[in-house]
Symmetry: C3
Subunit: 269 residues, 3 copies
C-alpha cells in the first residue's frame, strides 16, 4: 500500500509541467523514504532527477517499494483538473496497474477522483558520482529563465562563465551577439531570493545548448532561486529546491567540439 | 416597426457568443411579448431556445410580428464593435431586409450605427412538451463549466447521476477514469449563487456527449447558476436564467446504445 | 562616434514594434540634431517618418552623420531582451558595421550588451511638401485604434469625413454597413488626452485602405492622442507625438477610383 497526501496540490502540478516536455514517460519510485524519478530526456541529452522526501507530505506511507511507470502527458492532463489549492492524495496497491488520485477543494463540497493507467517502462538508473564543483552560482530563478528566453531568440548555444564578480551568459547568431552579466549581489536590503552569489574554486566557462537550459527554466515556478554547479568537462547541474521536500535537478553535458552523448559524461551504473 | 433598447449591451454580446458556435444561423422572432430564438445546432443533435421578454428591455416596441433571419457569425462580428457598457438599440421595419443596431457609449461622444443584412432561413418550430423532471440540479455555472472542460480532456461522454447527496460526473478514456462529485450544499454562509441543490423525484443517471455540454458552458458568463433537469430517456435541459429578462435553454438527448437523432426525442410540431 | 542614452527604454521598444510590420528595413540617420528614419512600407503604399531630437535623450552625441541600415525584425528581437524600465544606450563608430546597445536595469545588478549587424540599404529620401490641411482631427489614440480594428472586421476601406461637429468613419462589406461617429468634445471635465477636436478649413471626406490605418494604430501606445491631417486628393498624415522628443508620422494616399501608387502623391525628391 502506497499513499501520499499533499496539501499544496499546486506543487505537483508545477513539477509535472516542468518536466513533461523533456521526459515523456518515467518510473516514479516510491519507497519508505519518499518518491523519486530519474529519467533521460527523449533525445538522451540531459538527465532529470527528482526527489520528494516522505516527511514533506502531510501523510506518507509506503509499505513496500513500488515502481509507478507513468506517461507524463497523461498525468499532466489529469492534474489540469486539480486546483492550485486542492489537497491531492496519491494511492497505489503493492503491485499496481493504476495509480489513483483524489483532489479535494478544502473550500467547497467538490471532490474528484481519478485513476491513471500505469505502464511498464524500461529504464536504467544512472549513478551520478559526487563531485566538487569549481563554481556554484545561486541566482533568482526568474532571472535565469528570462536570460535563457532572451538569448534563445538570438543564438542556439550559450557560454556561461563564472568569475568572482558574477556570471556572464553570452551567445551569438545571425543577428549579432549578446552578453548578459549578473553581478554577485548580497546587499543587505535584498531579500535572500533576490540575491546572486558565486562560490568559486576556480573560474570556469562552459557552453551549452540553450534549448535545454530554456526547458529547465520551466521549473522556475517551483523555487525562487536556482543553483548552477559547473566544473570543466562535466555536466552542469541546474537545481531547484522544493522547499521542505526535496529537489528537482537537471544535468546537461557541455558542448565540446562536437555534440556528445551525455551517457558518457555521467557514467551508467 | 420593431425597436428594442437594451441598457446592458454586454448581455447581447454574451448571448451571441454563447450560441454562435452551435447555431450558424437562426430566425429571431420578435413579437409584442419579446424576442425568441429556437434553433437546432448544425449537426442536428441539440436544440437551443432563447427567450427575452420585452419588459426586460428599457424600451420595447413591436407593432407586428417580425422574423429576423440572422447569420450569427456576422452578428457576432458587429457586436464585437460594442463595448460591454454600451447601450444597444435594435430596429427593423415591418418587412425588413436589414436590422439596424446603434451602440452608444454613455460616457463618451462616440456613437456607432450598423446595419446587418437579413436572410431567409428555413426553420421548423419544435414543440417541446411540458415535463415533470425526475431530478433538477442547480449548481454554480462556473463549476459546471470547469467540470465539463476537465472531463473533456479525459473522455468523450459523461455520465451524470443525481442522488439526494449531490451530483456525480463520470467519464473514462484511454488515460484512465475520472469522477467528480459536487455535494448538495445550502450552508447558510454560502451566497445563493454558490449553492448546489438537487430536487429529486427519483435518482436518475444519464450519459451525454461531453462536446455539447462543453459548448453549453459558454453561457456560464450569462448567469451565476445553471439548472440541469433530467428524466430517464428524455433530453436534459441545461438552463441559464437571464436575470429579469428570460432564459437560454439547451436540450440534449442522452446517449442510448447508439447515437440517436434528437428530433425523435423532442418530437417535431 | 555616435552615442545616445535613453532613460525610458520602453519608448524605443514601442517605436520599433509600431513600425516593424510595415517596414522590414530602413536607414536610421543620426546627425547632430537627432535620429530620423524615413521609409516606404514593403508594398510601397505608405510612408513612415520618424524624428527623435537629440535633446530628448539623456545624453546625445553624434560627431559625424552616420547612416545605420537596420533590419527591424532583428532590432525588435534584441529589444525584446530589454525591460520597459531599462536604460538603453546606443553606440556606433563613424563608419560602423554594427550598432551596439546596452540595457541596464537601474534596480538590479543586471547588465546586457548586444551588437547588431548593420546592412547596406538602398533608399531614396522623399521630400514631403509643406501643406495647409483642410481638416486636422485630434482624438484619443486608443479610440482611433479601436475604430480601425472594429471596422476592419466589416469592410476593407473606410471613408473618413470631418465636419465641424466631429469625425465620422464609415465602411461597408458583405455583412452590412457601419458608421462610427466621434463628436468634437472639449468639455472642461475631460483630460486633454480624452478630448476630440476638429480644426476645419473646409469639410473633407476621403477613403483609405483600413489595413494600413490599422497598422498605424500600433503606435497608439506611444501617445495618448493621434492627429489626422486631411486635404482632398492628398495623403492623410497620421501623427503620433513622442513627448519631448519628436514624432512618428504615417502618410497614406487616399483611394481614388483605382488604387494609385503613393509615390505620385508625395513627390520624390
Amino acid at each position: 500500500m502506497f499513499e501520499a497526501r499533499l496539501t499544496q496540490g499546486g506543487l505537483l502540478k508545477k513539477l509535472v509541467e516542468a518536466v513533461k516536455d523533456l521526459v515523456t514517460d518515467g518510473n516514479f519510485e516510491a519507497t519508505e523514504a519518499g518518491i523519486s524519478l530519474q529519467a533521460m530526456d527523449t533525445s538522451h541529452v540531459c538527465l532529470v532527477a527528482l526527489q520528494l522526501r516522505g516527511d514533506g507530505f502531510e501523510n506518507f506511507r509506503c509499505d513496500r517499494n513500488v515502481t509507478l511507470g507513468i506517461q507524463l502527458a497523461n498525468l499532466s492532463k489529469l492534474l489540469k483538473c486539480a486546483g492550485n489549492d486542492d489537497i491531492i492524495t496519491l494511492k497505489a496497491d503493492d503491485q499496481p496497474d493504476v495509480i489513483t488520485m483524489t483532489f479535494e477543494d478544502p473550500k467547497t463540497e467538490r471532490f474528484a477522483d481519478f485513476s491513471l493507467k500505469l505502464m511498464d517502462i524500461d529504464s536504467e538508473h544512472l549513478g551520478i558520482p559526487e563531485t566538487e564543483y569549481s563554481a556554484t552560482i545561486r541566482m533568482p530563478s526568474a532571472e535565469y529563465a528570462r536570460i535563457c528566453k532572451d538569448l534563445s531568440s538570438i543564438g542556439e548555444t550559450v557560454a556561461i562563465s563564472a568569475t568572482k564578480e558574477g556570471v556572464k551568459f553570452s551567445t551569438s547568431g545571425d543577428v549579432g551577439t549578446a552578453n548578459i552579466t549578473v553581478r554577485s549581489n548580497t546587499a543587505a536590503d535584498l531579500k535572500p531570493e533576490q540575491q546572486t552569489t558565486v562560490e568559486l574554486g576556480e573560474p570556469v566557462a562552459l557552453t551549452f545548448a540553450l534549448r535545454y537550459l530554456n526547458s529547465f527554466a520551466k521549473a522556475a515556478s517551483l523555487a525562487s532561486q536556482v543553483q548552477l554547479s559547473m566544473t570543466k568537462d562535466l555536466p552542469v547541474v541546474v537545481e531547484f529546491t522544493i522547499s521542505d521536500m526535496g529537489h528537482l535537478k537537471f544535468y546537461l553535458a557541455p558542448k565540446i567540439d562536437e555534440d556528445e552523448d551525455m551517457g558518457d559524461e555521467v557514467g551508467e551504473s
